[in-house]
């Protein structure tokens, strides 16, 4: 059992939830999402994000629109779909429950 692997998997397990949460308040493009996640140290390398975004988009939890940017390539701004919002609400609930459960178990 590799401790680094376990840590990475725990982090990655909540990544999808976190991406949806970050996008709940505001539409963001990939680099901004990355900033949030990296600040929280949820991500070690950026590459991990892209397959996730695509997966979420394919699951119709996200959608994106192109916006021109000043002095750079056009950006993809991601936003939550209705389905995504429902999904997020459910995940919020699950997370809280899970959080409580974990705390209860680990603090015993």
């Amino acid at each position: 059992m590799n401790i680094e692997n376990t840590k990475a998997q725990m982090r990655k397990g909540v990544l999808e939830y976190c991406i949806l949460s970050v996008l709940n308040n505001k539409d963001l493009y990939a680099s901004e999402i990355l900033e949030h996640l990296k600040q929280a140290k949820l991500l070690v390398v950026e590459g991990t994000l892209y397959p996730l975004l695509t997966r979420l988009k394919n699951a119709e939890l996200l959608q994106y629109r192109w916006e021109e940017s000043t002095g750079g390539p056009p950006r993809k701004y991601y936003t939550l779909t209705d389905l995504g919002k429902k999904f997020l609400a459910e995940l919020d609930q699950t997370w809280n429950e899970l959080n409580q459960a974990v705390q209860q178990v680990t603090q015993q």
Binding site: Q9, V45, G47, Y50, R75, K76
Partner: protein
């Protein structure tokens, strides 16, 4: 838009290619790649802010560090890919790469081994077998070599060694193939097709050029290998010859040391020797002179077979060479002195006279034999009693014995019996020759009315083949009566003409002439 240098471009291309391959199973792969590309572009833009114009390899490396290795893209799929059953197993299915880490030639067999889950050596054997039957294997190998990409990145190596192929993954592969075909048909775009052909043409060119460089690399490896094997074979031969001769020499050398006189009589040709010097010195010099060259042969052989063998210290080498030179010079010196040692021949004379009334008195003559020495000569290998033959005297000292005796009968001018015994020997100088002559031990006696001679002489064993011999000159007045035993007559007939039948026990002889006796009482 930015400028990117050639190496950095290649690296970036490889990186994106690796990511693409590691994402092979996910839907929307192109989209992910596009997103990644735009993110990379963004990162490059940041780098170019401070007056920098060109993206170099350093920049690409730092970007890769930020973005993560291709594996990082894939592990995520494994974690999150639960809703796509097949993707899980497929993500880690094997890909066909050349395994250049375990290569013999170009890693084709090793790569195929990973792909098929077979030990690479079986595949190599198969290639060899196919090559043996008409060169088909070689062609196949070359084609695969061109066709199979080399596993360069960690991701590729992981893919190469992935999980065994099972029904799931095969099914998935088929589906995937179908989907990509469908997709391609749907998105036919002439431009894109043109681009693709161009790209493929380029990559084929690349493949060919890498193939050619690798091909020549392989040729040199083969040639090198051939000479290495040849070298090892030669080395083995050298080791065999060197050690064989050394062992043989050692045995002979040790054996020589053990040879004593008794053994030596059967080995006369060796024991006879030709040296005044101690035998062991000769043998030692011979051993060194012959042994050192073969020893160096052995060393060279060992070095050829085992490359890691440390070479001899130069001092040791020089020492060995000096020792060899010394022994050769010594041998030559011995040989020269030996050749010269027989130059001077001399004799040591012992004389005795005795007044004798020839017509009335009778001289009793006995030619004495030594039965012990006779037995020795019977056993001797070469049977020639005139050669110096090794044996022991009564005191147990080593001696050499010989019957090289010359006995001549002359007529005396006077009334006296004259006996002159000349012991002869040769040597390097007069003195040494005389010493050897004096050392010849010959027993004889003349007293009153009898002369007793030995039919052999002995000499110390340290002087071999020094031309030792004994010459006896016996002068008797004419008409002297000589009485001799049958045995004496037998011995003496080698030297004298004995007229008459001497088969009866004891006869009386009369001196008639030079070397001539006549039997008086023979029938």
């Amino acid at each position: 838009m930015f400028y990117i240098d050639e190496d950095a471009y290649q690296q970036l291309k490889n990186y994106l290619g690796a990511i693409e391959r590691s994402l092979s199973s996910s839907e929307g792969k192109e989209e992910i790649i596009a997103d990644i590309e735009s993110r990379i572009a963004e990162l490059f833009n940041e780098k170019l802010k401070d007056n920098k114009q060109v993206i170099n390899q350093q920049d690409v490396l730092s970007v890769i560090q930020v973005m993560g290795e291709p594996e990082d893209y894939r592990v995520d799929e494994e974690v999150f890919g639960g809703d796509e059953k097949q993707s899980k197993s497929n993500a880690s299915s094997r890909k066909l790469y050349r395994d250049t880490d375990n290569k013999m030639l170009a890693g084709v067999s090793a790569g195929l081994g990973h792909y098929l889950g077979i030990n690479k050596n079986w595949i190599r054997l198969l290639f060899l077998a196919l090559s043996g039957s008409g060169g088909f294997g070689l062609l196949l190998y070359a084609i695969l070599w061109i066709g199979m990409p080399e596993a360069k990145t960690t991701a590729q190596k992981l893919e190469m060694k992935g999980e065994p192929i099972n029904l799931d993954t095969i099914e998935k592969k088929v589906k995937e193939g179908y989907q990509s075909v469908k997709k391609n048909v749907e998105e036919v775009d002439l431009n894109e097709v043109g681009q693709k052909i161009k790209n493929e043409g380029k990559s084929l060119g690349d493949a060919l050029s890498t193939f050619i460089t690798e091909f020549f690399g392989v040729i040199t490896t083969i040639v090198k290998g051939f000479f290495q094997i040849l070298g090892k074979l030669i080395g083995l031969v050298l080791i065999t010859v060197g050690s064989g001769v050394l062992i043989a020499l050692l045995i002979v050398f040790l054996f020589m040391g053990m040879i004593d006189v008794h053994l030596a009589k059967d080995w006369g040709f060796i024991y006879q020797g030709f040296s005044d010097y101690p035998e062991w010195l000769m043998h030692l010099l011979l051993f060194i002179a012959v042994g050192i060259p073969f020893f160096s042969l052995l060393l060279v052989g060992l070095q050829m077979v085992f490359n890691q063998m440390s070479k001899l210290h130069t001092g040791v080498k020089v020492g060995l060479f000096a020792l060899w030179l010394l022994s050769v010079v010594g041998l030559i010196g011995l040989g020269v002195t030996q050749l010269n040692s027989d130059v001077v021949g001399t004799q040591h004379l012992e004389e005795k006279n005795m007044l004798f009334e020839a017509t009335t008195d009778t001289l009793t003559l006995d030619f004495k034999r030594d039965s012990k020495l006779d037995m020795l000569w019977e056993d001797a290998y070469w049977q020639d009693q005139r050669t110096l033959t090794p044996g022991y005297d009564e005191q147990g000292n080593e001696i050499l014995a010989s019957k090289k005796i010359n006995l001549s009968l002359g007529l005396s001018d006077t009334d006296q019996i004259q006996v002159a015994v000349a012991k002869k020997a040769r040597g390097l100088r007069y003195n040494s020759a005389l010493d050897r002559a004096k050392a010849v031990d010959y027993e004889w006696s003349l007293n009153q009315d009898s002369l007793v001679l030995s039919d052999y002489f002995t000499t110390p064993s340290r002087w071999k083949n020094k031309g030792q011999s004994v010459k006896i000159g016996l002068e008797l007045p004419k008409g002297t009566l000589v009485k001799m035993s049958e045995r004496s007559a037998e011995g003496l007939e080698h030297f004298w003409q004995l007229n008459g039948d001497r088969r009866k026990n004891t006869h009386l002889w009369v001196v008639e002439d030079q070397d001539q006796l006549r039997c008086l009482d023979c029938e």
